[in-house]
């Protein structure tokens, strides 16, 4: 028990670092995903082609590789030396754009699943395009995409461990160090427990939202 407490103390900083990475990634990637989704669904062909290409690259290459490219990119491409602060923001940027790509496709599936009749009813009632999207389409889309979005968020909590490639001191990085120093596997179990608790809370919250939206079909 005492050892458990000491492990938690040692990786405590990493827990909050992982949490911060998780929260900021969600804050940036969810709205960014909507923008990318709009681009992808745009009737202006060049825009939809670019958005489609970006999504395909972000989904088709490893997140770990993208993180490294974002981190070293400024140095190799522009000659700007990478600072320690950038380490943190590179992780945020890398995660956010990668997750935005996935969210964009989830949103698109949600928007495209709304029956055409909803648009037509809105049009006949005189709603303009913005009103139609904000009042009629978006709320229905949110309900429909909750299950896949929950999946994505759960994956994200676990993916935060990939930030170790940038030597960003998140939970998994620290747990590994403590495990090595103590020659014990226990720290890894402690880290695993914390990931599990994170996701338990995520699933609980998402389930709560889903039930809140279950008032209509």
């Amino acid at each position: 028990m005492q050892y458990f407490v000491s492990v938690v103390q040692q990786i405590g900083h990493g827990i909050s670092a992982s949490l911060l990475l998780f929260v900021l990634t969600l804050v940036f990637s969810m709205p960014l995903g909507l923008l990318v989704c709009f681009g992808r669904m745009s009737k202006f062909r060049p825009l939809s082609a670019v958005a489609g290409f970006v999504i395909s690259v972000l989904r088709g290459t490893p997140l770990m590789l993208q993180l490294v490219v974002v981190f070293f990119g400024p140095y190799y491409l522009l000659g700007i030396p990478v600072s320690n602060r950038w380490r943190f923001w590179a992780a945020i940027v890398g995660f956010s754009i990668n997750y935005a790509a996935y969210f964009a496709e989830i949103y698109r599936s949600g928007i495209q699943s709304i029956p055409l009749g909803q648009y037509e009813a809105a049009e006949v009632l005189g709603y303009n395009k913005t009103q139609t999207f904000c009042k009629i389409i978006f709320p229905q889309m949110v309900k429909r995409v909750l299950p896949p979005v929950t999946n994505e968020i759960i994956t994200l909590t676990k993916d935060t461990s990939l930030a170790f490639v940038l030597a960003y001191a998140e939970m998994f990085t620290l747990a590994k160090q403590v495990a090595a120093a103590d020659a014990s596997i226990a720290p890894l179990f402690v880290a695993g427990l914390f990931y599990y608790i994170f996701n338990y809370v995520v699933a609980f919250v998402m389930d709560f939202i889903e039930r809140k939206l279950a008032y209509y079909q």
Binding site: P115, G117, Q118, E120, A121, E123, V124, L125, G126, Y127, Q131, K135, I136, P139, Q140, K143, Y215, Y216, Q217
Partner: protein
């Protein structure tokens, strides 16, 4: 006064000509039923008239104000004004599932027409009363039967205070025992002198409420006139064949 005037309307989807040369008009207070075999272009005509489809040629005029002149659409402002003239009730109701019955009725009048909220609420309650659903104001569409949903949809269209209503096969998605309650509402509206254009398969209903029946086939208006002429004594062989088929 002519509320709706359509001249030489043409509509095609790529190479498929759906409407060839449709001219028709609707007088204020008139109830017009459009009948015809499936694929005859009835629904497309309705969708062109309500601007859900873009017509390829001809005029579309509401109350003397042109929405389309010789295939050219008016500017946005003018179209917005013209849209105030009519409402449309869909075959599949198309209620907003995430809004309560009340919100389905009041949202567009509040946010599109920007009229007084208290007034709109009062009118909406009255409309729900008229369609026999005053007790369902706080229900959601998924809690209602098809017939009830269609009655809400009619009330929603009326809440916009249109001068005329279009109905696109309003009972086709309903179980037979539910069609009566919807047709009853349409009858009520006809008695109140609401101008209506109804695409329907209900021949007996068309006979009972219509001032005029239009029979369409292959994108043309084949025959039109009072129901007792078109339905009971059709002159055109196509009308005769159609009526024989549906009334067997």
């Amino acid at each position: 006064m002519k509320l709706l005037e359509i001249n030489h309307l043409k509509k095609s989807f790529d190479d498929l000509h759906v409407l060839h040369d449709i001219s028709m008009s609707v007088e204020e207070g008139e109830v017009v039923s459009i009948i015809g075999p499936s694929g005859s272009g009835k629904s497309t005509l309705l969708r062109c008239a309500t601007m859900l489809e873009t017509m390829n040629g001809g005029d579309l005029i509401y109350g003397g104000q042109a929405a389309v002149k010789d295939g050219v659409y008016a500017d946005k402002e003018q179209l917005k004004k013209v849209k105030e003239f009519y409402g449309l009730v869909f075959q599949n109701f198309n209620l907003f599932p995430h809004y309560s019955v009340m919100k389905n009725l009041v949202d567009a009048p509040i946010h599109v027409q920007k009229r007084n909220k208290d007034e709109i609420h009062k009118e909406a309650l009255q409309l729900l009363e008229d369609v026999g659903l005053a007790d369902k104001a706080n229900a959601y569409p998924c809690q209602l039967s098809g017939g009830q949903q269609q009655r809400v949809a009619i009330a929603r269209a009326l809440a916009m205070k249109p001068q005329m209503l279009f109905f696109d096969e309003p009972t086709s998605a309903l179980d037979p025992e539910l069609t009566t309650e919807v047709l009853k509402i349409l009858r009520q509206l006809a008695e109140q002198n609401m101008t209506m254009v109804i695409v329907t398969h209900e021949i007996d209903f068309a006979r009972a409420v219509s001032d005029r029946v239009i029979f369409m086939a292959d994108g043309y208006i084949v025959e039109q006139g009072p129901p007792e002429e078109v339905l009971d004594n059709p002159q055109n062989p196509r009308t005769q064949a159609f009526l024989r088929k549906v009334q067997r």
